[in-house]
Symmetry: C2
Subunit: 519 residues, 2 copies
Amino acid sequence: MSEVSLARRNFLKTGAAAAAALMASAAANAGIPAATVKKYDEEFDVVVVGSGFAGMACALKASRAGLKVLMIEKMSVVGGNSAICGGNVACPVNPVQKAQNIQDSKELFIKDCLKDGLGINYTNLLGVIADRCNDTIKFVEECGAEFVPNKMLFEAGHSVPRSYEIKAGSGSGYINPMFATMKKEGKVTVRTRCKFDDFIMDGDDVVGIVCREGYRFNAKLQSDDLENKTGKTKYIRAKMGVMLAAGGFSRDIWFRQVQDPRVVPSTDSTNQPGATAGVLIKALGIGATPVQLCWLQFLPYCNPREKGFGVSVNFTNHACMDFGIVVDRKTGKRFMDEHAGRKIKADALFAVIGNDENYPIAVADDAIVKAINPSFVKLPLEMGTVKKFNTLEELADFYKIPKEAFLEQVKKFNGYVKAGEDPEFHRNLKFSNGLDVSKAPFYGIEVSPKIHHTMGGVMINEKAQVISTKTHQPIKGLYAGGEITGGVHGASRLGTVAVIDALTFGMVAGEEFAKMAKA
Amino acid sequence: MSEVSLARRNFLKTGAAAAAALMASAAANAGIPAATVKKYDEEFDVVVVGSGFAGMACALKASRAGLKVLMIEKMSVVGGNSAICGGNVACPVNPVQKAQNIQDSKELFIKDCLKDGLGINYTNLLGVIADRCNDTIKFVEECGAEFVPNKMLFEAGHSVPRSYEIKAGSGSGYINPMFATMKKEGKVTVRTRCKFDDFIMDGDDVVGIVCREGYRFNAKLQSDDLENKTGKTKYIRAKMGVMLAAGGFSRDIWFRQVQDPRVVPSTDSTNQPGATAGVLIKALGIGATPVQLCWLQFLPYCNPREKGFGVSVNFTNHACMDFGIVVDRKTGKRFMDEHAGRKIKADALFAVIGNDENYPIAVADDAIVKAINPSFVKLPLEMGTVKKFNTLEELADFYKIPKEAFLEQVKKFNGYVKAGEDPEFHRNLKFSNGLDVSKAPFYGIEVSPKIHHTMGGVMINEKAQVISTKTHQPIKGLYAGGEITGGVHGASRLGTVAVIDALTFGMVAGEEFAKMAKA
């Protein structure tokens, strides 16, 4: 049996081993009937589960409409995975594009998403993002998020530069100012270490949640969602509804392997350890419609020598893949369009890496490094994941790349940049600004994909309402946005679209609550 | 907006239109608590939901162990989709292979399945199929199923001939003798027009079902599962458990489009109209784990001029794709390995068909037609989907194929058969038995994929027990087999593997009940 097969078998066995303890603790049916709740500990208009982009946006918008809002977060700090993500944000047809004469359209944005999404994206939701993204950008700027002025990033898989670059270099560039704004406005009750346990249901309607305060997440448990019993149970009424903004399940060892058995427990992920499927599974239990759960995305510019997201992703992505090249260290040759979407690149990288850890080498030069955000290279150089070389020959020697073939490849590529055309892999070189791989010193880094995003989740409509399998209609009192939802990205999402997705549908859900408050 | 986009929009709107009526009728939480059931109308040891391969196999095995078994079927006749499927059945490492010196193995079978399944198949379940398939074949032969003697079909995507050919030419070749055996033995209570409505739950355990007798399926409803209220409600206790054998959801207009928005209501399917997601959705509601629901399979050898499965599938598959060729009528050239797996071929066909209905032409000659089951060509010729021509030139004229290019292609292909190698598409010609496209008369037919199989479903273990999201362990009293389960086929199943899958896990579930009876 191959190693993968063995890991698969162990996966099934581990399940059996941990059985007894878990069996006893399982709740009866899905959701807690409201009639069985003797007394609510507290009452709010809106309860937001999760405190990343979608949760913050919803809580701010709803609270500004005069609603009493509770935002809960199971971890000890707010922000979830949003706080550590790359943070750049797509916004098709924006003023910076206009000023720079970059032709973009809603249709082109949707077409780009469908290409990497293998055609199964929900175009109605992509339409909402395209229609509302400028409102979303305005909303976060007013909270204090800062973008690099007059700059449009040309992100992989997009046909044109259409993404703002967040100054902070990560999603904290939104989370920090949004949270500061929330604290300043003083209208949202925020509770960390507060774990969602279940929905309180009046028939098919969501009317509250059961949660545990003073809970402590334990990353050492096989499944924190099933095994962790810390904290004190509270019954919270949500008069208008519950917003699910609990993120994806890239760190849920069990559920991710259920969907893709190749993903074994040791498979690394860029996500924070709290990214589990607990809330999603409870939502399915009350009839939320599952959409495209089996599509897991690998981020194709991670470094195998550092754990998790690490510090090198922006360098590999925005230096080497936007402007430099990636070569197979066995051949010295390129093997993919470095600017393709994530799925295409992850598949190509896995094929080269094979079973013998033949990690490809991503390469950039001095001019490229001077053109990118300086924060992208500083830490990786300090941590040693990025190496600096005086010549291309030295770089080839260090990584044991066949020198002649490699130098020939670099020369060819530099010619393609000049000609504006890549006959080998049809990479779009229109926006290269003349940058190639020619100016010493040179930089190299090993590349490996890691699990980054779970495309699937619950089905929502254009108003962020969760759709029921029982009625094909919205579940009254239940909204969702961000990675816990499915459909926007189809089989594979493009970079910078998750940020605008989560912020926009968080904002939309908040606006829906605000409309209800007015009515 | 393109037509697809418009259809997508309508899909979302149709939902809204039919809202009011459906909302009122929705049940409260998932499953009916046993404590609320005043009196059971009847009691059985085992209740089997569905009467296709998996249902019949389970009911027979359980009843032979002395158990009181009820098998319900919502349609007016037993057999479900199994009765109308192709019916040939994979069985790796079988006596006929041995007699014919065909080298096969469990590992090769799993490898073949993983290739078309894109690597995400559940290898533990494939292992059960490989280990038990000879028992399964013996079991159905003892019921009276008849195979073409000493014949192994070389099915597309399989590395070697490993499939028995059912004499009857369809799945009725099992359903009829199995049902006759069941009637003769007189141990199973069978009820048609009996619709599963919900599970009766004792905590997390399944202890019975609610169903409606005298129900009449109505294919004209937008969703029969939601809207059809015919029949009289009955509460049935299942002392040992419930077996789900309710099939896939290829005809569930709503749920299939939720998973793949490209599949619009008008997309044709090979399945019988009752193939909806009702039972699957109820199972998810009580915590059955959803596996790979978003993979829908298209059968790549259907005919666009006939509705549903039609009568021409076996001809196109076993004459033209096993031995003949398929050409693009615009170029006269081949464009795929005609013997590849279903996903590869469906993708290739869709690319040629495009938006202008450029249906490719599948071609066979007289020698091929004489070598296949005569039933495969008789009806298609009578119905006019297959046309007969005295010469290849006449065939080209009729379908408006560029004549020279087509004749050149046929000549090339015949050369490949002689050489035993296809340098163009690397088709495996090892088992062609010298058959090519050279002997008049010639036969032609148009080809188009149709939705055929839904790969995803509930998660089961090697004992056909359904696994819970709440505990990661089996749900007590709940078993499943066949198309309602997920994982066996991964992203795309190989032909003839569904039959052995459903029969084997039906048998396995029946054996599990039998073991419980002994204990």
